[in-house]
């Protein structure tokens, strides 16, 4: 899409969308939202960028390897946090009894493992949206293999 108005407005808008996504992800345990909603917003910003600037230009900045990495690390991160519970002598995916600090309820640094998981999961969901979208649209363009 080679429309200057759209491109410029997108350039202005994307940082705001991403900051909002990060806000929603980080505040999942004290306000409505969380990893899945925030991740979807994050993914939406990348989808917007792809739509406006085209896949080729987008891939140069955010290749398949990056999204693959985020994907795998995000999922493994969840499991590792869960396994920490076993290491601490409790069961899988234990939060408070495994010794995660509770903090003051209602503040950003609270709720122990919840925000720790949320961050990994939010990034993972964001990259999932991107991968799914790209998987569907790159079918149409024959730009070699990847």
């Amino acid at each position: 899409m080679n429309d200057m108005v759209v491109q410029i407005i997108t350039r202005i808008l994307i940082p705001f969308i991403e900051v909002f996504a990060v806000y929603v992800i980080f505040h999942g345990h004290i306000s409505p939202g969380g990893s899945f909603s925030g991740g979807a917003i994050l993914g939406a910003s990348f989808v917007l960028a792809t739509l406006v600037f085209g896949t080729a230009r987008f891939n140069r900045k955010f290749g398949h390897m990056v999204s693959q990495l985020v994907e795998s690390v995000g999922g493994s991160w969840y499991i590792l946090v869960g396994l920490f519970g076993i290491l601490a002598g409790a069961n899988f995916l234990t939060n408070k009894l495994a010794g995660f600090g509770m903090g003051r309820p209602g503040y950003l640094f609270s709720a122990g493992a919840i925000p720790v998981i949320t961050i990994g999961l939010g990034l993972k969901v964001g990259s999932t949206m991107v991968t799914l979208f790209h998987g569907l649209i790159e079918e149409e363009e024959n730009h070699g293999d990847h």
């Binding site: 493994s76 069961n91 899988f92 234990t94 009894l97 293999d145």
Partner: protein
Amino acid sequence: MLHLPVLAVVISLLGAYLIPLIYHFRRNLASVVAVGISGLALCFSAATAVYVSRYGAFSYLLGMWSIPWGIEVYVDRMSAFMMLVISSITFLVMLYAMEDVRHELTEAPRKWYWTLNLLLLASMMGVVMAGDLFNLFVFVEISSIAACGTISVKGDRRAVEATFRYLVLSTLGSGALLLSIALLYMVTGNLNMTYISGEIQKAAFLYPKNLYAALTFMVVGFGVKSALFPLHSWLPDAHSAAPAPSSAVLSGLVVKIYIFALFQVLSRVFGPVIAGIPVETVVLLMATMAVVLGSVLAMGQKELKRMLAYSTVAQVGYVFMGLALGADRAVAGGMMHILTHALMKSSLFLAAGSVLYKTGKKNITDLAGLGPRMPVTMGVFSLAAASMIGVPLLGGFVSKWYLALGATDAGKSFYALIIIVSSFLTALYFLPPVISAFFGKQPDDSVGKGIDEAPAVMLVPMVILSIALLGVGLFPSLVLGLLGYRG
């Protein structure tokens, strides 16, 4: 020690997450890691089975939350048995697949094949040990999508089309399942199976129609996914279009996981109220139709893998029959048939796969004269076919024997008759390929030249499966002891 069942699931999930990364750095390592992780899961399941048979059933609380609030994983003898079956068959099939996918899949999607297989393994084990209805639903969904993925990974249009129909139908099933869970939650206010069954008596008094609806949707949902007779239309295409190792896992395991889950739910959730509802009669009727008509339909098939897929429809009927009859020996027979059918059907599919690997032929008539050229493959095939028919001293005979005994125990000797009749039908479609393989003549000798045995990495799993089949036939008390049945 109690962590083991959950760790078996989690380690497979971790492996699935890491395989794409490993593949990126070392291509050849991915398959080795996948097989190694499934072997590790097998060790964990075996340890769990030993623990359960020694100290009895136990429940594990995820996150240390006591049960109506947290998620419970409940492992009794049956779940431990199922875990053992799932992980051992998957391990052997994945060993076979290390060589087979080189031939059957293109290079690009190969890493995803391993990922999907590990996800399937993890989710199947999650299903059999779930103690919470919604957790069960989540794992059922993972296994549905992963099962579809292992078919469409082949990428030809037949496989994609079959996958699409499988996906749509199984989504219909999961919609019914979720609706059922919603109705149950509405009237009982719980998701834990034990707690629902504690509330269900009151709910049956206040809201009987809701419970009937929930029960119907539950049976339909799991019925679609496990190909209960009138809902089986997706199975032959999906299982015959898949790559051979996937067919082995799909036919041998995936279908039966849902049967097991259905009966877990029926006994553990609806247990107190099920006596007044004729659900078992309906299931028995459908199972009978499956056993007879599945065999009849299998006779009309020209393609080997399609014939095997139709035979799965019939064999699924046996498992349903055993579990629905309800007598002790019938249930033991049904559970045993899950194991023996998994062994037989996966060795049959793997044998068909190695014929395909060597000759590229997939019709039943193409087997003619292959016996002397591929003795091990066709030997495995014949042994499994004989067991399928019910030749004594083989695994299939023992499970059918217990099913028939259980039918008489339950006072329904009619079903014992059905089992015998269906054995004859099975013989009618399994004997011709075996006979023509060993005694038939290759019609055109130039075609058969240069065809010899498949590579060792493919043969070893098949031989192990056959030995296991013989072992189950000779020492059925081992399996029955694992199930906690003494008779």
